[in-house]
Amino acid sequence: MKQWIAFWNIFIKDFRAYYLKPPNISWGLIFPFAWTGMFFIKSGGVQDILSMVPGVICLSILFGTTSLLSVTVTFEKKGRSFDRLLLAPIPLELLMLAKTSGAILFGVVNAFVPILMAAFLTDLSQVSWNAAIPAIVLIAASSTFLGLFVAVSVSEVFEAQTFSNFFRFPMVFLCGLFFPIERLPFFLKPLSYLFPLTYGADILHGAFHGGHMMAFSADFTALSFFCIALFLISLRNIGRRWIL
């Protein structure tokens, strides 16, 4: 019970201190809004919205979660307030879940900005929400854990952003959001399958317009694997880099 009191308060503190701050709210709203608008104008019609929304959801989650988590954790580590958490009698796994929960929720909220915009423009009744919602949560979790992985690997806030982009931009272009994976050059195709977003985007394409490449079960398994692997690698790195 005591550990859950700690968990809940870390989550609430982070949400109030970081995620509900005006710049982050505006980032969380304006960024997905701008992406959606841009792609809508480019697509040239309402009929393309269903094929466009999965990509915008993925971009909104990916950029929102990785940016905020990597920056907030690096900021706390640099200001040494993170040491205060490490000194508390909470298992490291629970502590890091508490630190990442806020970012995961932020990512999920971000995802619903393009969905709400699309709801005004087209009929979403045929969307398979049973697949889309768990996929959104898992994309948010894997992106957050990627942000955690980045945060643990750097020591300065600006490095966190630079290092995030090292993963984010190749992922955006190779995960099937802009170009179908089957149309990528043969030497780039294997790389696509190394990114969690590939599997998340595939589920969302399937859920929104039925255009997916792999079975949902394979996508969910791969996405879950990435979540667990990134979380465990980050925990191991925290143990090695921060508990000297």
Partner: protein, 336 residues
Amino acid sequence: MIPASHPWLRGIRVNALSIQGLAKRFGEIQAVSGLSFEVSQGELFGFLGPNGAGKTTTINMLTGLARPDVGAIRIAGIDCTGNPKAAQHLTGVVPDESNLYPELTGFQNLSFCAALYGIRKKEREARARQLLDTFSLADAGDRKFAGYSKGMKRKLTIAAGIIHQPHILFLDEPTTGIDVASARQIRHLIADLNRSGTTIFLTTHYIEEAERLCGRIAFIVKGRIVRIDTVADLLQPIQDAHVMQIAVSTADPTLQDKLTAAFPHLTFHVPGPNLIRVESGAPVHAGPLVRFIEDQGVDVTEARRIRLSLEDVFVRITGIEAHAMKREKEKGGGRS
């Protein structure tokens, strides 16, 4: 909360801290080497040394922020060597830098720190208010930590370290870089905490602070403990020493030689260009000394008897000038 089976609750007296052969290396630097000591329950134990001596590294290993390369740590009888989380519910840590959350108010910071130890809302809010009162911060409780003065930040950081009522409190340089009044108030609070039964492990470079507060002190230099004893025993060798300090217009080395030749039963030191220090096992008479010095053509501006302190003991044992250590730290010297 200590488990019911814990020796402390069964009336068995175990050491608050027991450290055996602790060592830590960072690359080429041996930060700490072969540390072994014990701190009794309820003791106020001082850990003194210059920058880079290994004080903060030791605290980090004891509290779980660093892993020892070798050695064993027991906190309140609990073996924490491989599992630092095992006793974190019993310890409180006040780091050498104030590390609370700048965006939270003083009250929110304290309440959040209490929540990290699983204290329920009603109780943690009551404790936060009480501590804000105790530390004279009640009026600033609703202000953001970022806007606090250095002294206020230090006080709130100490309050955050004790909000869960730890049995053992690690205080790393608690009064460094703050104003005299705040430092004095913090020293009173530390003494009160210790009187109420909290075991305190205090690192400081203010030797007079350690002398005033601590029951026992360890001197650490280059990662090794060079002496560990009670303050009374550390001071014992200088209890019978008689020291006189003579301020002169100029004290060149030849004057020291002349004085040594003329007064062979006295020991002379020249700690500064205008100071001569005379030590003896018997009372030192100023008259003959002053006359002799003036006969050498050197003006004497003052001659007074001084009481030796723990600082002199520290200098004798470690060979490190205490003033230099203090200056180095206050210049913003790093962690040790």
